[in-house]
């Protein structure tokens, strides 16, 4: 039997297994495909995948498998453009600015000297982020010139993407941020991610609690999702003391384990319903 939905993964975590379980409950024919075992002949009509829900954690594997499948005519959620736009904090920033969605101020510098000069002009603290990356990796707070020089110098020896210095304002906010899970045009659940550390990533030990969705939040998230051409995304917001809600990230392959746990919303089932709806 041809699959209704293919879950394309490179690691089976709680999220991927929950999608499979939700499919069984709904009598949806789910095919699990390990991207690490996938070879696609780009010159041939592909086999029937149904609609593909892209769940690869490897950024490059995710992006390239989406490009190949989409190019072969397969519907992939999220699409290639979302992978490109949401996968890069600078690209997302520019798209959010273009449509007027509040986002933290940022500067991009293309060498250590240019970055230090910008920091000395604008002042500290600032947050340096890799334009591509996740889970808080290599995100550092630059408190002064000494720390900035040390951190930026270490990046000058890394892969070129880390030599694009994306410098974001350090947003004054409560010790938390918000993760809103969007399925289509709706926030289906949102959580506060609490942490005494200035990084609130759940991967770094933050704790979750339900967050009430406001109309303002939903309107901002819909705009952000559409800016990156997403279908199912996780939008990260901060409550800036100066600007109110700001969106600092849109996640292309969002995790939702903690959101399901604390909000008791069946996000995997909603994702499948949405995937089947958009395929038709």
């Amino acid at each position: 039997m041809n699959p209704d939905v293919t879950i394309l993964y490179d690691s089976i975590r709680w999220e991927e297994k929950a999608l499979l379980e939700a499919g069984k409950k709904k009598n949806i024919n789910i095919q699990m495909v390990d991207c690490k075992k996938l070879a696609l002949d780009l010159e041939k009509k592909p086999e029937d995948y149904g609609v593909v829900i892209q769940r690869c954690v490897s950024y490059y594997r995710n992006l390239h498998s989406t490009a190949a499948l989409e190019g072969l005519g397969v519907k992939v959620i999220n699409c290639l453009n979302t992978g490109v736009f949401a996968g890069n904090k600078l690209f997302t920033h520019m798209l959010l600015k273009k449509i007027g969605v509040p986002t933290p101020d940022a500067t991009v510098a293309f060498s250590k000297d240019a970055a230090i000069e910008a920091l000395e002009t604008q002042g500290y603290p600032k947050v340096i982020k890799p334009t591509v990356g996740s889970w808080g990796r290599l995100i550092s707070k630059l408190n002064d010139k000494d720390s900035a020089e040390g951190i930026i110098e270490s990046r000058e020896t890394m892969y070129p993407i880390y030599q694009v210095h994306y410098l974001e304002e350090f947003v004054k906010r409560p010790p938390r941020d918000i993760r809103a899970i969007m399925v289509g045009e709706k926030i289906v659940a949102a959580i506060y991610r609490n942490s005494e550390h200035w990084k609130t990533n759940m991967a770094l030990g933050g704790t979750a609690e339900p967050c009430k969705v406001t109309q303002e939040m939903e309107e901002m998230c819909i705009k952000a999702k559409n800016a990156v051409q997403g279908d199912i995304v996780g939008v990260d917001l901060m409550e800036s003391e100066e600007k109110g809600l700001v969106i600092h990230e849109v996640n292309n392959t969002t995790e939702y384990k903690n959101t399901v746990r604390v909000c008791e919303v069946d996000i995997p089932a909603l994702m499948l319903d949405y995937a089947l709806k958009v395929e038709k």
Binding site: I12, K17, V57, Y59, G234, N251
Partner: protein, 55 residues
């Protein structure tokens, strides 16, 4: 039941386990990927954070 390669604790494999699924040792926290073996699943050390991994 399998043994953790790191600390030798017992690791239970879920009944509905899937090849490629990540299981974690409750004793030491080491993560393993389930790989098909001759008799059920074998545990192989899981790559937990690749340089380009994320969401």
């Amino acid at each position: 039941m399998s043994k953790c390669e790191e600390c030798d604790a017992d690791i239970s494999i879920p009944r509905d386990a899937l090849e490629g699924e990540i299981v974690t040792c409750l004793e030491c926290g080491a993560s393993f990927e389930l790989a098909k073996g001759s008799d059920g699943f074998d545990l192989k050390p899981a790559q937990t954070v690749g340089e380009d991994w994320g969401q």
